[in-house]
């Protein structure tokens, strides 16, 4: 087991190196740089060129990459050209928002998906099941950004129940109770928007899993032994079907990444997804590279986590 984890982590390392080179080169090949946006007759071209030189933007990409990597080894992701601050500091400002948003949407996803999936599976082909399945069909077909936009419009603007931008109300002191409540409040609507769409796959999976398990021999045996219907579901079927869902947890991270990019952009929620889009536009290369790397690392770790959980819950899957 430990051997497996260590080996996987070792494979992860070259993956990240390759990913960083790839992204770095691509970022360098983009037209413009972080100073292109500063075209303003009150700023002289010489002053800009001075900064290009100072930031090393005039160097060839491999020298810039070497600089960046040597910083990386010391835990320094470089400087953001635009924010004029360490990328590490910049990202840590934003990362908590994205983690909060992801946590909220994951919690909502499970709260909604598990009961619906169970009901749908237990009473399959009932009218209730049809409604739930119909919902999951619609959910599958709805692009998340359109759904988020509509949610923002209805609950943010028309009803005014939720804040429409930002991650926290202005002026609250970090660390106070109000601050945390406000943070949570700001994350609710975007989180719910992701959740209502991403529940679809979990519901469908759970449903078909339960329908399958229902007909398995051991369930039939349990029934024949006279176990009550509730007992059969709670004890045998549910436990059997829920475990794989737990294992998907890690893989959810990968899909959450794309979800947050869209939703953060629609809700102007200052997390890492929005930071990524802004940095692409502003050609803030060091931030772009660091973010892709971070997101990459998160999905690698997520996949690893899933594999580990899966091997624990399902002894049939042996980790080599």
């Amino acid at each position: 087991m430990w051997k497996f984890i260590i080996r996987r982590l070792l494979i992860t390392f070259p993956q990240l190196v390759f990913l960083s080179v790839l992204v770095f080169i691509m970022a360098q090949m983009m037209p413009g740089d972080a100073l292109t946006g500063l075209i303003d007759p009150t700023i002289t071209a010489e002053a800009l060129d001075l900064q290009r030189e100072r930031l090393g933007l005039n160097n060839p990409w491999y020298i810039q990459y070497a600089d960046w990597v040597s910083g990386l080894v010391q835990g320094d992701l470089g400087q953001s050209f635009r924010f004029k601050m360490d990328v590490t500091a910049l990202i840590s400002e934003r990362v908590m928002n994205t983690i909060l948003l992801s946590a909220v949407s994951l919690i909502f996803t499970y709260i909604i998906a598990i009961p619906l999936g169970i009901v749908s599976g237990r009473y399959n082909d009932s009218p209730l099941d049809s409604v739930i399945t119909g919902y999951s069909y619609l959910g599958f077909a709805t692009p998340i950004f359109i759904f988020a936009l509509v949610m923002l419009w209805i609950f943010g603007f028309q009803l005014g129940w939720f804040p429409t931008s930002g991650s926290v109300a202005p002026g609250l002191e970090s660390g106070t109770m109000e601050y945390y409540i406000s943070k949570l409040y700001h994350a609710l609507l975007p989180g719910l928007s992701i959740a209502l769409i991403s529940v679809v796959s979990t519901i469908q999976y759970l449903r078909s899993e339960i329908v399958d398990t229902k007909q398995k021999d051991f369930i039939v045996t349990a029934r024949a032994k006279g176990a009550s219907e509730n007992r059969v579901y709670n004890k045998h079927i549910f436990r059997n079907s829920i475990l794989p869902i737990a294992a998907f947890f890690g893989w959810e991270i990968t899909s959450l990444i794309s979800g947050t990019v869209f939703v953060e952009s629609v809700f102007s929620y200052p997390g890492m997804g929005l930071l990524f889009l802004e940095s692409i536009m502003q050609r803030d290369f060091s931030v772009v590279t660091s973010l892709v790397l971070l997101f990459g690392a998160a999905s690698i770790l997520g996949a690893l986590l899933s594999d580990i959980i899966l091997s624990i819950v399902d002894p049939r899957i042996r980790i080599k």
Binding site: I11, Q15, F18, L19, L22, V23, M26, A27, M29, M30, P31, Y137, L138, F140, A141, T142, P143, I144, F145, I146, L149, W153, F157, T254, I257, S258, V261, F262, S265, V266, F276, L277, I280, V288, L291, V292, F295, G296, S299, I300, A303
Partner: protein, 297 residues
């Protein structure tokens, strides 16, 4: 292009395809969806032959944000451009990209999977490591980086970029099937008879997994259409004079458009919903058909 592929497949393996078709026709919902898809595709591809893209995006200074009328069936946008025409061309572009990405990634993925599964051993090992690497890439971000890098892309190059990051799923699936297939008697028999690897793969192993391929590619089509519209929505898709469903949807980011000018974005939203539903209905029906246990009696 799609028609060609289907035709070839048909010659090689009539039985599995006809089963699929029979199942599809039996399933009313899927049938309606299929007809709808064919109609829409035929309509947009056919009509767009007669519509001039340049003319559609022609600016009419005197008809800006006009609501639907006799002259403009679905009104106009802020550039005075006909929304209906943009919808037709946009649907065509979105479909074209979706199909192109699905085909490119499908063909590459199949080849990759079959080779990996058929040869096994070290080849398989190496190829699978590469897949593992691609699987964990935050592909949405990479595509965005790619798109900002190549400032000048066409429908084909855009599709290539997208396909480069979406072939892994099908490759994995095909590999595992190919692994199973090659252990079967017929493949082993051919091998002892001295048939070349190439022939075994393309003439024997591949036809037997046709139904699986069709099902997977159909379902991929839906997600590729979704991905394209998402990228356009974020502003990393096509420019406005190459409209797609995503560009039309992105107009809804303007709250005035969202609230007062539904004719610009709502048709595109409904159309994309219907397209995704239909493709999926067809895909699910195909899957059921392919899966013998669930075949309806």
């Amino acid at each position: 292009m799609e028609a060609d592929t289907v035709e070839i497949v048909e010659q090689k393996s009539p039985s599995s395809l006809s089963i699929l078709l029979r199942e599809l026709i039996r399933d009313k919902l899927a049938l309606i969806s299929l007809i709808f898809l064919i109609l829409i595709a035929g309509f947009v591809f056919g009509l767009s032959l007669f519509l001039d893209q340049a003319e559609i995006v022609t600016v009419d200074l005197f008809a800006i944000n006009a609501p639907p009328s006799d002259q403009f069936i679905l009104g106009t946008d802020y550039g005075g451009r006909d929304v209906f025409g943009q919808l037709i061309i946009g649907t065509r572009n979105s479909l074209a990209i979706g199909i192109l990405v699905t085909l490119i990634s499908g063909i590459f993925g199949i080849a990759y999977g079959v080779v990996s599964g058929y040869f096994g051993g070290h080849v398989d090992n190496a190829l699978m490591r590469i897949i593992d690497f691609f699987m964990v890439l935050p592909f949405l971000l990479i595509i965005i980086v790619f798109v900002s890098m190549t400032s000048n892309y066409s429908i084909v190059s855009f599709s290539l970029i997208m396909a480069a990051f979406s072939w892994m799923g099908i490759a994995r699936l095909i590999r595992s099937k190919a692994l199973q297939e090659k252990e079967l008697d017929y493949a082993q028999a051919s091998k002892t008879l001295g048939t070349s690897n190439f022939n075994i793969i393309f003439k024997q192993v591949l036809p037997n997994i046709t139904s699986l391929i069709i099902v997977t590619m159909t379902l991929n089509l839906a997600s590729n259409i979704g991905l394209e519209s998402g990228l356009s929505f974020l502003g990393f898709g096509f420019p406005e004079d190459t409209p797609s469903l995503g560009t039309l949807l992105s107009y809804a980011r303007n709250p005035q458009t969202l609230e007062f000018r539904w004719w610009i974005w709502a048709p595109a939203a409904i159309l994309i919903l219907l397209l995704m539903l239909s493709v999926r209905n067809v895909g699910e029906a195909l899957r059921r058909a392919a899966d013998a246990r669930q075949r309806r009696g």
